[in-house]
Symmetry: C2
């Protein structure tokens, strides 16, 4: 009845994917993704910052991350967790803003997986979109550079706290 069983993730044409081997444990990377004080240290490319993080880490629980631009404007990013498998996988979407309240426009589902490989972890961050147009829009917004910089910051933080 719970999210304890882990099914394989199938590729989809509307996916954008970042895959990286990181010299840190799956447990450490999962902490970086789920502890507010750690999220604040890597989740946006500098000079943006994270003003606020509130997480209800369960299927149906809200993930609210408020980003702040260099001018001090705040940009709330509400979403809902769909699947939480400790130290292995997180799935969340912006199709809901909290509980099961629908967002104005579903854009993507994020599937983050942490697969132990000896001393390292195969880290996969997958942004899956509801349309080819949304995927292209995400590319135009700078998916590759943005998620790449964040992965660098995640890797640095993981090395520091391990």
């Amino acid at each position: 009845m719970t999210s304890s069983s882990q099914s394989a993730i199938v590729e989809h044409a509307n996916d954008l994917v970042l895959i990286r081997r990181i010299p840190a444990s799956a447990q450490t990377l999962f902490r970086c993704w789920t502890e507010p004080e750690l999220i604040k240290q890597w989740f946006v490319p500098s000079p943006w910052t994270i003003a606020h993080v509130q997480l209800d880490l369960r299927a149906g629980g809200q993930s609210l991350i408020v980003m702040q631009d260099p001018e001090g404007n705040q940009h709330p990013n509400p979403g809902v967790y769909l699947e939480v498998i400790p130290n292995r996988r997180l799935v969340f979407t912006d199709a809901y803003t909290a509980g099961w309240l629908p967002a104005a426009k579903p854009f993507m589902t994020a599937i983050i997986s942490f697969e132990p490989e000896g001393e390292q972890t195969l880290y996969t961050a997958r942004a899956r979109h509801w349309s080819a147009e949304a995927r292209q829009q995400h590319l135009d917004m700078g998916f590759e550079q943005g998620w790449g910089i964040c992965a660098d910051q995640l890797q640095t933080l993981a090395a520091r706290i391990a």
Copy 2:
């Protein structure tokens, strides 16, 4: 980490709701919603039938119900469970077809709740849409009559198997 905690459901403008007190236990109604051989006996208004039911009852698991019209044409209804709280609540959506594969167009989220009230159960079937247009489309498709007939059939079945 699991769906064991149950949060309150907030009303939303894009909801269509059927509420009924049914003289059966929450456990019996939950069985009718989750056992394929029982689903086949109430889930569509006659003379339609259910040709096939396949359920993976966990957050992220697929719900596939294939309806059959009187001419023998089959109509697959794929969806994914978002929340499964035994004997209390089921949440599923057609925004995904299986796993976290996106559907062509997210239409609705169904929130089904079973609240024990003595010998009875307060049964709430909520169809929550991503837009006011989708809600109206569902009304035009005959939501009230269709879900009402199904609730009658559910109540009859629950009385028989209790």
